[in-house]
Symmetry: D2
């Protein structure tokens, strides 16, 4: 079953990560690029023979209505040679994807995101209608491409944090709020997640938006037998942090302060320049240290928009620590990454893992995918190596169960 | 048995690591310092209740004949407050240690190390006489302090690499070369290790010197039931490297180049400024990457002597890597450590582990201590986290076996 | 005349810069420290034979009432050896300074600064009374120490920016507002500066506080024949910036973005963690680039309070620039300074320059001191090298005029 | 006269700097690139109206015989967009340059450079024949393109240092050695310089090779009325160093150590990986500090070849310095430049300055161009800002003299 066509429905389909996901899948399909960056193609996992990347077909939605070709042209800037070998010969495929792009929702996404959106939106229609429209879009996509499964991935900009509400904790109560069209308890993310699960589609929340995988929504996924996971893809600074922080713990060195500064120039950076969106992001980045160290050193995560950097994301972290006899020392690092290039292969990985989980009848949070997220829901391991070990154990378990069939 | 007096016989006893080991043990004994930096005092291992640090008594040898108080005064510069609370009230203890310092050997240590040594040395006496003298020194030390065990730790400067010889691979052949007084097949490290094991003392090679734990010497340790381990304490740049390199592998990112530059100003740096000594050091630092990554990126490790830094050791590493679709990115870090402060607690840890191993009847290489060494002999895990997991497993095993008694 | 006793009246006398100024002057007087860091003692300026550092006597005010000995003990942490050689033998001098410390004003200094102050303050008394009290304090200090001159230096924490008011532009109008006790047009800085000039004391505004050297106050200084200068001592990141930025202009390289992150742990950092105080500081730091480059690249200056760093001030700057054919490149630097250590010698320099200017009958802004300030008032050179050349020209001019006498 | 055609004869014409010079001149001619990076086009100098870049015609020599189009394609990698707009429409011009490329000499260039060369060379013919052949090549080039002047620029790889010989100090003696065909006293650089000056062509030594501008050769230039200048274009790390080092002097801060590490991946890097070539390079880089500071701190310049970096040149410099009261602080910077992109506009600048000097009848060293070189011959200013001020004075002088005509 895993070798049939699989649909990938991207929320924020015109953004730079989506464009790189699509460009990458096309390039791999044409042999213009290899598997570097795809964890699922590295040695321990390759033998699982997950859905081939070239079996993926793309669609999705966006709140903007620019052309996908423009997004792809922008994404091509990071990898001009691969793009040159890929885009010109992919015209038909790109047109097909463009035809499967629909209008997204920006409900409670804040002013920074709304500023990007087309004036025409349906924010004032009842929530249930929004959901129904999205379910219909996803089902239509699945039908039209003849897919066995459709995986929905949220790659939209960070929403402002959704305030906790009592109804979030119970599916029954949450349904009642939806029925009552209570606009205060949902964000766009909640609606996408609810719709995807209702349509039977695995859902990946690659954003920090906390409105998506509410306890009530997780409950829905468990009920419907749909695998889901989030939050916030771990691509750069936080990845390094979750690798380095355990070192201090393992050497019994005391972290006094860990201050991180991120500068980036893409749309994500622009949206994050808005305090309410930034706040939500920082919350997932900043939670890592106490969980790993077992205490809370002084720490800060700062994000600044520097347009000239475009898709480059540079982070400088300064770690001040105390060693034997109280002597103070420091470690600093500068990470110079390209955001979409780091994120895109993880998205492809996650789609492939979701398809596997669905085929195995797994429902709810895929906690074995903790190593992919800054704030992995339901996961107790916080160091990267432990999270990775969990994934390897899962893989071994799958291989074992296949043999026993 | 673990609570009796334990002797620690330090080779290079007047060097800065030794001085910090002694200062630290005194400070802990007086309550002037806590357990930061001691891995054996961190949560997973504390419950083993290893030999208390204040049960350790120190002695050793050096090729210089300066006063220990001078070494301690220099070490105090890194931690003036702790030193002020400790040294003045430790006069008797320091004098006792001074009385247990004997003359070391500089056999085949190269010109850089010989330049540090006193003119009076016994390089021209037969190897067997050197060994016998060292065995006598160690036994006298044990007797005089009334110790249950003496652990010997090599903290001397890096020797030039000892050329491989056929006799290194078999104890029988090696003994024959010693009898024949073949000076080409041994270095000071070989003699120290051979003597320690002959005297029944666990031996820790904290230096990169490859002459110490020759296969023949390991064979001797197995025969005599003595636990040993090496090589080269993993304190700074290589520690970070063995933590970060697995991240690239786990994300399927291709390391193109990893170039590391170390600057340091202590005696170790001065000796390493000599090409033949540096070569030996770089060999252990540089071997880490291929073992972790499974391929050999371009890599270099450079060490330079910068006297003004004194005991500070600063490393700048530049990692150039390739991600999805071939896009190139980079990570650089600057590590600003204090060499002795990082090394000393590991020495105390290793002594405690060695006492435990001896008491449990373990002989030969203590492979569970891989996380402490740049080039851990007999160890198959090369990433730091895996090495640490090995140590935790060992700890669990010990706890289990205690319960079953 | 320059060799008589000179009084230095420090505003913020219990702060860390003041303590280092005092410790340094004592140490130099006792021969425990040399002239490193004193620009006035470097080759081109030494021949001016300015007031000897050991001819300086200190007094001042603070809004806190802790003991100077506590401040000195804290400052000693940066230079333990020099302090050990100095403080014990300076008891009488330190007590004398303590006797000359009076109560400062925190008028319109904002909540962050007020939180540091003693509850007893005279904020509610008329402005003119505040001024009269300060004038009296300064005159009493001068009389008691038998000084030829007293130089007043503002080393207090950064005040929130004082809003511009029409009366700031004319001394006549400003006097009228003082008479009317209009509390909205003054801050503590204005009052200190007005009082000092009224008392005939040269005034140095080493802080960014914009309330001090208002145009009306500068007019007063010109009228009274008193030399003054400000704003904001150029000690670290901005110094490097004003050195490096001209390089880009001189090579015709286009700076696209210049993003700077400062972390520091002293009281200054704590006050700057308050947004209204930070805003005032960033304004003087951020103005440098456009003036040097002739255009305004994207730039940001960020300041964060990291308590564990204490008096250390670390800045990471990332410069993104465009070169030939549009290719993009970058320069990043990490500055690891000790704030008071960098500031204190500049304060001593400025006092010495002010005494010289007063003796030469110079009045108003000392524009030849531009190289000492982040935002030098009345100065047209913005690159550090040009500012320094200006100082050398002034020095040559002074030497010339001496010869002609 | 300055607006006629000017020939530029590049030694090392197939190297990456040459290719970027040619690509850049073509791009500027076509309007595909602006003047960023050209100092001669920045404000103070623009008004001199030097030879337009599109009046330059290129030729030269190389010891390799690969195609210029390959070099240009490699250079295009740094600036793909500009190259795409330029190269396709420049076929005829590129072919013309290719026709003017002749065989270079590798006399005494060492094994690293010889390894790059074609087997066919004329190393064994008499030196005088080599010179005559080069003079003929340059004259033919001038004639064929109808140039008013030809400027010769040495962009070849760094030669091993040429040992000093008594005959280097006098033209008369040097001529005698050439007549005697004494191969020990010349390198390829000497021959190129001698030939260029003999042909009446201004000569720029952009390389560190010390064999080029020997005192005897400078004497020849003075005699023949030919302007010349060198050594070693100041493009990256040394530029920053000559900007930052004066800051320490001007603040009376004592530099304890300045350690610099360069990594680069182009052919220059490959040649410099050879110790004899590296030695020559480091000599010019390392001389800067003592001249600026007036004393010699511990310093080192290290260069390592890291192939994956290609034309990128990354330098990490660590500066350890002492401030007030002996407190130690540090500054570190990471320069991430693209070697050819930084060098090429300086080459165009230097050609334009040389044409101006020739037209003004200036002969011998053009000391006003000190800011362009790491080791500017005959120049007493060593800080970058002073060197730049010298150039501005020269410019003002030229403008003045034009007015007076």
């Amino acid at each position: 079953m895993e070798n049939g066509t699989i649909g990938v429905w991207l929320i924020g389909a015109l953004g730079s990560i989506s464009a790189t996901v699509i460009l990458g899948a096309l390039a791999i399909g044409k042999g213009a690029a290899g598997a570097v960056g795809l964890v699922t193609e590295s040695r321990p996992f390759r033998e699982l023979h997950l859905t081939p990347v070239d079996a993926l077909r793309f669609g999705g939605c966006d709140i903007r209505s620019s052309r996908l070709t423009d997004s792809l042209a922008a994404a091509a800037g990071d990898v001009p040679e691969v793009a040159a070998q890929t885009l010109a010969s992919s015209t038909l495929q790109i047109e097909a994807i463009q035809r499967h792009l629909t209008q997204g929702t920006r409900r409670n996404c804040g002013s920074a995101i709304s500023a990007l959106a087309e004036p025409v939106d349906h924010c004032d229609r009842p929530i249930r209608d929004d959901i129904a429209a999205l379910v219909a879009d996803m089902q239509a996509f699945k039908r039209e491409i003849g897919a066995d499964e459709v995986v929905v991935v949220n790659l939209a900009s960070t929403e402002p944090a959704l305030a906790q509400a009592p109804c979030h904790d119970s599916l029954e109560e949450f349904e009642r709020c939806l029925d009552a069209n209570d606009n205060n308890v949902v964000s766009a993310g909640s609606i996408y997640a609810y719709a995807a699960i209702s349509a039977g589609c695995p859902y990946i929340n690659f954003t920090p938006s906390n409105g998506a995988l509410l306890p009530a929504v997780i409950e829905l996924a468990e009920q419907r037998g749909v695998p889901i996971m989030g939050n916030d893809g771990k691509t750069g600074e936080t990845l390094v942090k979750s690798v380095l922080a355990p070192m201090f713990a393992m050497r019994n060195l005391e972290v006094l302060s860990w201050e991180g500064f991120n500068i980036l120039g893409n749309l994500d950076g622009k949206v994050l320049a808005n305090p309410e969106n930034k706040e939500a992001k920082i919350r997932t980045k900043d939670a890592v240290l106490p969980k790993i160290l077992g205490y809370s050193p002084h720490s800060g995560v700062h994000i600044n928009y520097v347009p000239s950097l475009k898709d480059k994301k540079i982070a400088w972290d300064f770690v001040h620590f105390r060693g034997f006899l109280g002597a103070e020392m420091s470690l600093q690092f500068t990470w110079q990454g390209i955001d979409s290039i780091l994120a895109a292969p993880l998205v492809l990985d996650l789609v492939r893992w979701a398809v596997l989980a669905k085929s195995r009848g797994e429902a709810g949070l895929m906690t074995h995918l903790g190593c992919y997220f800054k704030n992995p829901l339901g996961v107790t391991e916080h160091g990267f190596h432990e999270q990775y070990a969990h994934l390897r154990k899962y893989c071994a378990h799958v291989m074992e169960s296949r043999k026993s069939v």
